[in-house]
């Protein structure tokens, strides 16, 4: 009921944009205006309490999970630089106590090495950071360095003129060699770099080696084989792929990779750009149909009523043989401290979602994206900001993230058998093999298109829409998206 304390939203949905302009309005009034809209809701819901959103992050795309700190030491030395001074602010989204200590340590170490630099670090949760970024943007108070997801979320800052162009600083210097090239591609807009990657995430099919061996199935290498594997497992009473789609993004993650399999990359690039998107290629419907086939043969039925996390329990308990997961979830699957069953780490391996034979797309793209830091185009301390970001991308600092959090860093050579588990090293191989990263469909596209996919796939799973219906909605959304950027 309405008088209950307001509880925050773990909502996983992506965010969108409308036409942006390079003009700054009167800050205070705009903050107020934003607050007003929020207040219509929040004061209404209850002014009695404002509990900070604590619900479990629903989307590991954005609220990644990692391994707990594994006894790290040896603070990496800060980069030697001329005496830098000034105060900068950073807004990131790793307030979760599991992840927060890493960024606190990075900032502290940096300030120790640069006594005249003061860094104000603000950590938020997954959802609050989206709201806060909007309020700060509207008021002209963006921090010097701020978190952003790859895709249209970042593009909004670029279109609005809020993001500094980092092309000269990174791409035209040796700095670029620190990063895996695929991660920089994912953060480029119109050929310019506006963000630097800070984490690395890819989507793969995790599987239970023991269940595969016990039931005599091999790792599939084509889509048709995957469906066969599913049928075999189902025949033996094993759930093939654990799947929970309450919040919509897990289905969209299948489509992210499937679209790359069925539609040529150039067409995708055109359609994912809101200014030119049409979504008329027949491959799109084929991708949706492929998802429908996977659903029939492999996925948990009635998945809209199951969360991704609940589905994961089935996989961890050995009742389901596979789950399509992000590599930042590997910690949950391998680390006993994070709830993985004893010995599961040895049973778990993964493969890339198998591609269909003879489809028109490019199977060498791998689904995934780096999370990133953007730089406020109005920063007063560009020298400090760049030096700090360079420090974050140095090998020892990045390696420490992998060790402390279990996440892969986008930095070349930062992961090794010394600081992470073998599955993570294999992921790096996959990423190195990939021609590029296929950014999450719900964050790479404009919000109307993303919503059409999120809702349409849920409707498909519910049986109320066909692939052709969904595509019609997506095409209509693309028209709306085009209008929104050409206003």
């Amino acid at each position: 009921m309405g008088w209950m304390p307001w509880v925050g939203d773990p909502g996983p949905s992506p965010v969108g944009h409308r036409k942006e302009r390079n003009v700054h309005g009167s800050g205070i009034r705009r903050v107020f205006a934003l607050a007003v809209t929020a207040m219509m809701l929040f004061t209404a819901c209850s002014s009695s309490a404002t509990t900070a959103p604590t619900a479990a992050p629903a989307n590991p795309t954005q609220a990644a999970a990692g391994t707990a700190a594994a006894g790290t030491s040896a603070a990496p030395a800060a980069t030697a630089a001329p005496e830098l001074s000034g105060e900068i602010s950073i807004l990131e989204k790793y307030s979760d106590p599991k992840y927060a200590p890493y960024w606190e340590k990075v900032v502290k170490d940096y300030m120790t090495a640069h006594p005249k630099v003061k860094i104000d670090l603000q950590a938020e949760g997954d959802q609050p950071v989206k709201d806060k970024l909007r309020v700060l943007t509207a008021s002209g108070n963006l921090p010097d360095i701020y978190f952003s997801w790859a895709g249209d979320f970042a593009a909004k800052f670029v279109r609005g003129g809020f993001a500094a162009d980092l092309t000269d600083a990174v791409m035209k210097t040796d700095w670029k060699n620190s990063y895996l090239p695929a991660t920089l591609d994912a953060l480029s807009y119109d050929g310019k770099l506006y963000a630097v990657p800070i984490t690395l995430d890819a989507k793969v099919m995790a599987y239970n080696k023991q269940l595969f061996a016990d039931n005599g199935v091999q790792v599939p290498s084509t889509m048709a084989q995957l469906l066969q594997v599913c049928d075999t497992l189902k025949g033996k009473g094993i759930e093939p792929i654990a799947f929970g789609n309450t919040y919509g993004w897990p289905a969209v993650h299948y489509l992210t990779q499937l679209n790359y399999y069925y539609v040529p990359a150039a067409t995708l690039a055109k359609d994912y750009n809101p200014a030119t998107g049409e979504f008329t290629d027949p491959g799109y419907v084929q991708a949706l149909q492929a998802f429908a086939d996977i659903n029939t043969h492999c996925l948990t039925p009635k998945s809209n009523g199951i969360t991704h996390e609940n589905a994961q329990a089935e996989f961890l308990n050995g009742k389901a043989a596979m789950q399509y997961v992000e590599t930042v979830e590997f910690g949950l699957l391998t680390d006993v401290n994070q709830g993985a069953p004893e010995g599961f780490a040895d049973k778990m391996s993964f493969f890339k979602l198998p591609a269909p034979e003879g489809a028109a797309g490019d199977a060498s793209y791998l689904e995934g994206a780096p999370d990133s830091f953007m730089v406020n185009s109005k920063t007063q301390h560009m020298d400090v900001v760049l030096d700090f970001l360079k420090y974050v991308s140095s090998k020892p600092v990045a390696a420490e993230m992998t060790q402390m959090l279990g996440w892969l860093a986008p930095v070349v050579g930062s992961a090794s058998a010394d600081n992470t588990f073998p599955q993570n090293i294999q992921v790096l191989d996959e990423i190195n093999k990939a021609k590029g990263m296929a950014i999450w469909l719900d964050t790479v596209t404009q919000i109307d298109v993303a919503n059409a996919y999120l809702n349409g796939l849920q409707a498909m799973l519910d049986g109320s829409k066909t692939p052709a219906d969904v595509m019609k909605d997506v095409q209509a959304a693309a028209v709306k998206a085009k209008a929104s950027v050409s206003q």
Partner: protein, 296 residues
């Protein structure tokens, strides 16, 4: 004279801080929200663009808005029947029928759900409604009716009802306790006199309890109905409005438009509609109730 004027002035002075706070944090936002609903704007486009009544026209043509409004109305109707009606009956039973230490026991049992955080309740019910391992579906299978198994909050037809049901579970005990408080203020002699005159318990309920808790009932009605139009957290925690936007309420649809879809002006228009509805309901109820106190 001077002292009197001073005193009058000082009373205003004492009121001033409260008035200022209410004006700044309640009335100004309400008015500014209405103003904003005539603009198209978002955080990334710093200039507001006047669009007149476009946002309202879009609202009327938006099927999800109507769906959300329907969901709010469904929430209100069910909550009135179960929370207010059921809470009243439960309270009367606990006060009049149950005796001794059971009274306290049941009060606690019914009240406990209201003390659980919504996030926890949401997770709990996600399990209860889970189509694979959930209590409800397993019970249905056990009863021999596997055809009745549903992904309760995962199907467009049932999602909002699953959330509404959770709300009833959580809040009925709360309303009940407030009714118990009201009932305890009713003089016992009225009941004793009625029973001596041969009234049954049911008659005593209709002719003594119900009229004398009228004020509490009205209050509960206002709170329940306006609460139903402001529902947000329950939906956000359980389904975030899904599947396929089937379980949005006005509150979650506002939030989605403001903070995901970046359509602040449109969200402001939804906010205005919510305000008008809840304001109207409060006015109607207060007007309807004026001067109808019952005393014996």
């Amino acid at each position: 004279m001077v002292v009197g004027r001073l005193r009058r002035f000082s009373s205003w002075l004492w009121l001033l801080p409260a008035v200022m706070l209410v004006v700044v944090f309640v009335y100004y936002p309400v008015v500014d929200n209405i103003r904003l609903s005539f603009f198209s704007w978002n955080a990334f486009a710093p200039r507001e663009k006047w669009v007149g009544l476009d946002n309202y026209a879009n609202l009327l043509a938006d099927p999800i808005f109507w769906k959300a409004l329907f969901n709010n109305i469904a929430y209100a109707v069910v909550s009135i029947v179960i929370q207010v009606g059921g809470g009243l009956v439960l309270a009367a039973i606990l006060e009049e029928v149950v005796t001794g230490r059971w009274k306290g026991f049941f009060r606690v049992v019914f009240f406990i759900p209201a003390t659980i955080s919504l996030t926890v309740t949401g997770l709990l019910f996600q399990f209860i409604y889970n189509p694979k391992i959930g209590l409800i579906d397993q019970f249905l299978v056990w009863l021999g009716h596997p055809e009745l198994v549903h992904a309760w909050i995962g199907e467009e037809a049932t999602a909002i009802w699953g959330i509404i049901a959770m709300s009833q579970w959580q809040s009925t005990g709360y309303v009940m306790v407030l009714f118990i408080v009201a009932m305890q203020k009713i003089p016992r002699e009225l009941y004793e006199a009625a029973y001596i005159d041969g009234a049954s318990r049911r008659q005593a309920f209709y002719h003594i309890t119900v009229p004398l808790v009228r004020e509490m009932s009205i209050l509960m009605l206002i709170i329940t109905i306006s609460g139903a139009f402001l529902v947000f957290s329950e939906v956000q925690v359980m389904t975030a409005g899904g599947p396929n936007n089937a379980s949005h309420t006005l509150g979650t649809w506002l939030y989605k438009n403001a903070f995901f879809n970046d359509q602040m002006g449109y969200a402001a228009a939804i906010g205005t509609v919510i305000f008008v509805i809840t304001f109207a309901i409060a006015v109607i109820q207060l007007w309807w109730n004026r001067g109808k106190q019952v005393e014996y």
